[in-house]
Amino acid sequence: MKLTGADILTHFLADEGVEFLFGYPGGAVLHIYDAIDRQEHIKHILVRHEQAATHAADGYARSTGKPGVVLVTSGPGATNAVTGIATAYMDSIPMVVITGQVPTNLIGNDAFQEVDAVGITRPCVKHNFLVKDVRDLTSTLKKAFYVATTGRPGPVVVDIPKDVTADSADYVYPKEITMRSYNPVVKGHGGQIKKAVKLMAAAKRPMFYTGGGVILDNAHKELAQLAKKLNAPVTNTSMGLGGFPASDKLFVGMLGMHGTYEANMAISNCDLMIAIGARFDDRVTGNIEKFAPQAKIIHVDIDPASISKNVKVNVPIVGSVSDVIKSLLREIKASDFKPNKTAMKEWWQQINEWRAVDCLSYKTDGDKIKPQFALEMLYNITKGDAYVTSDVGQHQMWAAQYYRFDKPRRWINSGGLGTMGFGLPAAMGVQLAFPDATVACVTGEGSIQMNIQELSSCMQHNLPIKIVCLNNGFLGMVRQWQEFFYDERYSHSYMDSLPDFVKLAEAYGHVGIQVTKPEDVEAAMKEAFKLKNRLVFLDILTDPEENVYPMVPAGAGLDEMILI
């Protein structure tokens, strides 16, 4: 079947099972948009800014496990997409981004809307391609999806010049592809599995530290089995929340800079750390010299480069997280593995003492809405079963602390890059994937304004997202650092001249509700979530001086937290 490049692209995406294409048209992709108009398989979601297209595809990918697909034009289309590509790259999210390019004969000529998209995106993609010949288009697209979704997932950019989308070639959908230069390891090394189980059997104070890898590889069930076998405490990174049920008694909360007292103390005192699908990020470890000083470390990760990058480990196991955990469970069964009951009793006694500190308690103040209270209310009203996307800052940390995720893929946040403006477009991707689900975007008055224009896309595509804006009139996390470390000099962290968010929501055709008193939070949220078919913007005016606790100051060890 001979097709134009543009039709090859749409046929391929349909054959690949792509449901949604998040994009924005422009000169270099006009042939492609014409082809999109000729077909019915893929639904194109028009955004208002290319950054939002990438975040929406990202939110779709995080919530479904399927790759998010983006289409943008050349030049500014591509550069606007870069933030979203980098966001996905840092969090290992499978994504394929098609960027239009000027015709091949103009490449390098400083043509209108030309940028070197492959060069600009190179440091923030898993891989990228420039397609110079329409005959290479199908195989390149197949490679892009294969690379994006296998091994440690990540975004892949395919740059397609305009003439390539007009030229014709034969099209046959390739079911499979092999690449001699790319063969991710799946199975963990047998000898390492044995060593790991020996360490587990000898441990007196074992501890699980798990990250986004558990969620990406759908290994939450296996992780729960393994944790139960060892009866060991589990902590999650921000990316890993929901990978282990927060309501399980083995769960000690998130670790790191704003982790719980019990999680950070347990890390600092454990004698065996089982790190799974986590990468020892600096926000997690605090001062690396003081990180888990007594622990032997087992590290399971699909990416060999993540192992012994920041922290030297004793037993590295390269492989897919679910596969390795299954092997560990088999090995535990085959060996005469028995946890040390007396030691474990003492360990749990110690952990429960740390728990009793109740580090997430907060002081209430009669007439001010505490952000923690608002998020507890969100948890109660959505029965802990919503998809929660977040922006970046204090509200993000409070959501991670107070919305207790029991299921994977429910907590959607920009963990690695920390991209403000992520929350609303990400929620669009989630709501499209799950039209009947409750989707809440927890944000602040700073972050929401970074992609506020998407309120228009939400109206066009009928997305009944609930925006929970914790409006404290400050760039809260910046303000907190200035209070603690810059003698309360609040340089440019106050957002003066805020819009009337209620009127703004209404101007876009949505519902806006402002809440100013603690006693009104419950009713307002109930009202908002009752409006099943409407986007509701909840503008909740919160205590401007509230801080996120506990906090590990930069340069300190995890056991040197500031508590409230």
Binding site: G119, R122, P123, H127, R180, S181, I288, D303, A305, S308
Partner: protein, 175 residues
């Protein structure tokens, strides 16, 4: 910052040989990786192999064991990299080619340059009334010694190829 500390540590010299897909941009992926992560490159050479779909790149770098481990892992992670080997882990041969142009305005200096070239087993590959150009192949320190030997003869120009290497014995980097 940890990375700055890392880059400052001189550490051992390593020769990493990389087989990669002979595709546009492959070189910039490797160069970009080194600059983005603050690794240093002493030299880098690249050319197609007998299989034109593959390029072979040789990178000479310095770093502690941990950094070299990260460098090889990060290189392996590049989708275009098919295979790589750290040649310095085993017995190997390294070679670099030098071309040096020197001023030879008198017959005495021509004699001297010819003698030096012979001692170092270099070859004179171009001659004019006022200059000789010599080609010399060897390990880097031999080339350094040769350059330093021109005490009295003015050097007009030098060019070095950067290091290429191959392992000793039947072991090979091949697919």
């Amino acid at each position: 910052m940890k990375r700055e500390k890392k880059a400052d540590e001189k550490g051992m010299r390593h020769i990493i040989s990389i087989l990669m897909e002979n595709e546009a941009g492959a070189l910039s992926r490797v160069a970009g990786l080194f600059s983005a992560r603050g690794y240093n490159i002493e030299s880098l050479t690249v050319a197609p192999t007998e299989d034109v779909t593959l390029s072979r790149m040789t990178v000479v770098t310095r770093g502690s064991d941990e950094i070299i481990e990260q460098i090889t892992k990060q290189l392996n992670k590049l989708v275009d990299v098919v295979k790589l080997v750290d040649l310095t882990e085993g017995p190997h041969i390294e070679r670099e080619m030098l071309m040096i142009k020197v001023r030879t305005s008198s017959s005495d200096s021509r004699e001297e340059v010819k003698r030096l070239a012979d001692i170092f087993r270099g070859r004179i590959i171009d001659v004019t009334a006022t200059s000789y150009t010599i080609e010399l192949t060897g390990a880097g320190d031999k080339l350094d010694a040769f350059i330093n030997a021109f005490e009295k003869t003015p050097i007009l120009e030098t060019v070095r190829s950067g290091v290429s290497g191959i392992s000793r014995g039947a072991k090979n980097l091949h697919i």
